[in-house]
C-alpha cells in the first residue's frame, strides 16, 4: 500500500467526460487521478489536494483553461508555481499554442492526440 500512495496525482480538468476517460486510460495505472469539469472545480481540488501535474483543457464552461492557468501561475499558493501543466486544446494554431505557453503551460497537445504521446509527455514532465 505504501508504494501505491507514492503514485503521482494528476488533476484532469476537461468538461467532456469521454475526454477525461481517454486521458485516464492513456496515462494508465501509473498515476492517481482527480477530475474537474471546469475551472471552479479545479480550484476547489487544488484547495484540498496537491497534484503532481495538471492536464488542462482550454475550452471550459465559464472561466477558460488559459485564464485558470494564468491565475494559477500568478498565485504562489496553494500550489507551487512550477507545477507541471499540459494544455490540451481542440484549437491548435500557433497562436493558440503561444497563448498557452505565455499563460505558463509546460506542454501543449492538440486534439485529437495519440495516447502514447500524452503519456510520454506527462511522464517526462513529472520526472524532470
Amino acid at each position: 500500500m505504501a508504494a501505491r500512495t507514492l503514485r503521482p496525482l494528476i488533476l484532469i480538468c476537461d468538461d467532456e467526460m469521454p475526454l477525461r476517460e481517454l486521458i485516464k486510460a492513456a496515462l494508465g495505472d501509473t498515476y492517481r487521478y482527480v477530475e474537474a469539469a471546469d475551472a471552479q472545480e479545479a480550484e476547489d481540488v487544488l484547495g484540498e489536494e496537491q497534484p503532481d501535474a495538471i492536464v488542462l483543457d482550454v475550452m471550459l464552461p465559464g472561466k477558460s483553461g488559459i485564464e485558470f492557468l494564468t491565475e494559477l501561475r500568478r498565485a504562489s499558493t496553494p500550489s507551487p508555481s512550477d507545477l507541471p501543466v499540459v494544455v490540451v486544446s481542440a484549437w491548435q494554431s500557433a497562436d493558440d499554442e503561444q497563448a498557452a505557453m505565455t499563460a505558463g503551460a509546460d506542454a501543449f497537445i492538440g486534439k485529437p492526440f495519440d495516447p502514447e504521446d500524452l503519456a510520454s509527455l506527462v511522464e517526462g514532465l513529472i520526472a524532470a
Binding site: 468538461d15 467532456e16 469521454p18 475526454l19 476517460e21 481517454l22 486510460a25 492513456a26 471546469d38 475550452m59 471550459l60 464552461p61 465559464g62 477558460s64 481542440a90 484549437w91 492538440g110 486534439k111 485529437p112 492526440f113 495519440d114 495516447p115 502514447e116
Partner: protein
C-alpha cells in the same frame, strides 16, 4: 438671380462699385467741361463787348464830325464846308453798319444800334437838311439859338445812345465773366473734392467688396479643411442670397452626401467584419465540435489496438467510441439539415398522432441520464392531435429539450408541456437558465448563431434552433420564445387536428403533471 437681389451677389457688388467710381469720375469731368465752355463763352462776350465799344467810339467820332461839318455849313464857311458836309453825310454809315454787326448776336443791342442809326437818319432828314436849306435862305435863322439847342440835344442823344451801348455790352461781358468765374471756381472745388473723396470712396468700396468676398471665402476654406479632416457634419450658411449662399448650399449637399457615403461604407465594413467574425467563430466551432468526439474515437481506438485491455475496459471504450461516433453523425446530419434549409428542400411524411406522447417520450429520454435537473410535465388531459412528420417533430422537441438541459444550471427544473391553445396545438419547454440577452434575441433562430454560448464554453453548432423553426414552418406552424422571470420558454405551435373516430389507436400515456423525473 433676380434684379432685386443684384446687390446681394458678388458680381452685382463689383458692378455697383465700378459704376459708383465711374459716376464720381464722370461727374467731376462733366463739371470741368461745363466750366471750360462757360469760360469760352465769357471770352466771346468780352471780345464782342470790345468790338461794340470800338465801333461805338468810331461812330461817335463820325457823329461829332457830322456835327462839326453841319456847324460849318450852317456857319456859311463856303464850299469847303459843303464838301466836308457831303463827306460826313455818307461816312458815318460804315461805322454804324459795323456797330450793328458787332451788336448782332444780342437782340437788345442790335435793336439799340438800329435805333442809333434811325436817330442819325432822323437828325439828317428831319433837322440838318431842312436847316441847311433854311441857311441858304436865311443864315441868321439857321444860326438861331433855337436851332443850336435843337442840334445839341439831338447830337447828345445820339452820343448818349452809343455810350449806353458800350456800357451795356461791357456790363453783359462782365456778367458773363463773373458767371464763368463762379462756375470755374465751383469746378475747382468739385474737382478738389473729387480728388480727395473719390479715392477714399473707391478704397472704402473696395475694402467692403473684399470683405464681403474674403470672409465667406475664409469660412469656406475652414469648412473644407474640416471636411478634409473627416468632420462631415460641418455646414456653411446657405441662407445668404449671393453666390456664397449657392456655394454653401452645394457644399452642404456635398458634405451630407459624403456623410451618407461614409456611413454606408462604415456599415458595410462593419457587416463584412461581422461576417468575418461569424466565419471565424464557425470555423472555431466546427473545429471544436468535430475534434472533441474525434479525439475520443481515435484515442480509444488507438488504445484498443496498441494495448492489452481487459474485457470491462474494452466494452467501456467501445461504448464511448459508439457514443462519440453517434455525436459526430448527428453533427453531420445537422449540417445536412442546414443545407436542406438553405436550399428550401424539405420532404415531410405527415401522419396523424398525439403530440403528448411524443413530448413525454422525448422528455423522459432527455432527462433519464441527467441527474442535475428536475422534470415537470404539464400535459393536457385529452389527446392533442397533429398532422406532422413524426421524425422531424421529434427532432424539434429533442433539440429544444437538449437546449434546456444545456443552458439550465444544475439543480434547476425543466418544465415540459403540451396543450391546445387558442390557435392550435402548443408544446413548450421552460428552463431556469440565465435567459437570452436582449441583443441576441433577434438572431437566435439564425443558422450558426450561438449568442454567448462560445464564451460560456457551451458546445453546439448553432444549427438546432434554425433547423427546428424551419421544420415547424414547413408544418404550417410557428415557433418562438418568451423571456420568463427566471429563465426562457421555447414554444412550438402546430395546427390542431380534430379527433376523427377512425383514428386509432391513440394511446395517451398516463400524463403525470407536476411530477419530477426520476
Amino acid at each position: 438671380m433676380s434684379k432685386a437681389s443684384l446687390l446681394h451677389s458678388v458680381v452685382g457688388r463689383v458692378v455697383a462699385v465700378t459704376a459708383l467710381g465711374a459716376i464720381a469720375i464722370g461727374g467731376t469731368l462733366a463739371l470741368f467741361f461745363a466750366a471750360n465752355s462757360s469760360l469760352k463763352h465769357a471770352n466771346q462776350e468780352n471780345a464782342r463787348a470790345t468790338a461794340i465799344d470800338t465801333a461805338a467810339v468810331n461812330l461817335r467820332v463820325h457823329v461829332l464830325e457830322l456835327a462839326t461839318a453841319f456847324e460849318a455849313v450852317v456857319g456859311g464857311n463856303g464850299k469847303q464846308a459843303v464838301q466836308q458836309w457831303k463827306t460826313a453825310e455818307q461816312s458815318w454809315r460804315q461805322p454804324a453798319a459795323s456797330l450793328a454787326q458787332a451788336a448782332a448776336p444780342s437782340q437788345g443791342l442790335e435793336a439799340e444800334s438800329l435805333g442809333v442809326r434811325a436817330q442819325i437818319e432822323a437828325f439828317l432828314t428831319d433837322f440838318a437838311e431842312p436847316v441847311i436849306a433854311i441857311a441858304k435862305i436865311s443864315p441868321a435863322l439857321a444860326r438861331s439859338s433855337t436851332s443850336q439847342t435843337e442840334r445839341t440835344i439831338r447830337i447828345d442823344e445820339i452820343l448818349k445812345a452809343t455810350d449806353t451801348m458800350s456800357t451795356v455790352a461791357a456790363s453783359e461781358a462782365a456778367q458773363s465773366s463773373a458767371s464763368a468765374n463762379r462756375l470755374a471756381h465751383r469746378a475747382q472745388v468739385a474737382g478738389l473734392a473729387a480728388l480727395i473723396f473719390a479715392p477714399l470712396l473707391l478704397v472704402g468700396l473696395a475694402i467692403w467688396l473684399a470683405k464681403s468676398v474674403a470672409a465667406p471665402l475664409r469660412r469656406t476654406v475652414n469648412a473644407a479643411s474640416e471636411v478634409a479632416a473627416g468632420h462631415f457634419e460641418v455646414r456653411l450658411d446657405d441662407r445668404r442670397r449671393d453666390e456664397f449662399g449657392e456655394l454653401g448650399h452645394a457644399f452642404n449637399a456635398m458634405t451630407k452626401s459624403l456623410a451618407v457615403s461614409r456611413d454606408e461604407l462604415v456599415a458595410r465594413a462593419e457587416s463584412l467584419e461581422q461576417a468575418e467574425r461569424h466565419k471565424t467563430e464557425l470555423i472555431s466551432m466546427v473545429s471544436h465540435e468535430v475534434r472533441t468526439p474525434l479525439a475520443s474515437i481515435l484515442g480509444f481506438t488507438r488504445l484498443l489496438l496498441e494495448r492489452e485491455v481487459d474485457e470491462d475496459a474494452r466494452r467501456r471504450y467501445l461504448e464511448i467510441i459508439d457514443a462519440e461516433a453517434t455525436r459526430l453523425a448527428s453533427l453531420v446530419s445537422d449540417f445536412l439539415d442546414a443545407r436542406l434549409i438553405e436550399e428550401g428542400q424539405f420532404a415531410l411524411r405527415p401522419e396523424l398522432f398525439d403530440a403528448r406522447a411524443l413530448v413525454l417520450e422525448q422528455a423522459e429520454l432527455a432527462l433519464v441520464h441527467d441527474e442535475a435537473h428536475d422534470l415537470e410535465l404539464q400535459l393536457h388531459d385529452t389527446p392533442l392531435l397533429v398532422q406532422a412528420d413524426r421524425l422531424r417533430l421529434t427532432q424539434v422537441v429533442a433539440n429544444v429539450l437538449s437546449n434546456a438541459v444545456k443552458y439550465s444550471p444544475a439543480g434547476g427544473t425543466i418544465t415540459v408541456g403540451a396543450a391546445p391553445s387558442a390557435t392550435g396545438a402548443r408544446i413548450w419547454v421552460d428552463d431556469e437558465g440565465t435567459g437570452i440577452a436582449p441583443e441576441h434575441r433577434a438572431q437566435i433562430f439564425e443558422p450558426f448563431f450561438r449568442g454567448g454560448a462560445p464564451d460560456a464554453g457551451i458546445p453546439g453548432t448553432g444549427l438546432g434552433l434554425a433547423v427546428s423553426r424551419r421544420i415547424v414552418h414547413a408544418h404550417g406552424g410557428t415557433m418562438g420564445f418568451d423571456a420568463l422571470p427566471g429563465g426562457t420558454r421555447f414554444w412550438i405551435e402546430l395546427p390542431l387536428e380534430q379527433p376523427v373516430d377512425e383514428v386509432d389507436p391513440v394511446r395517451p400515456r398516463p400524463a403525470p403533471t407536476g411530477v419530477p423525473s426520476p
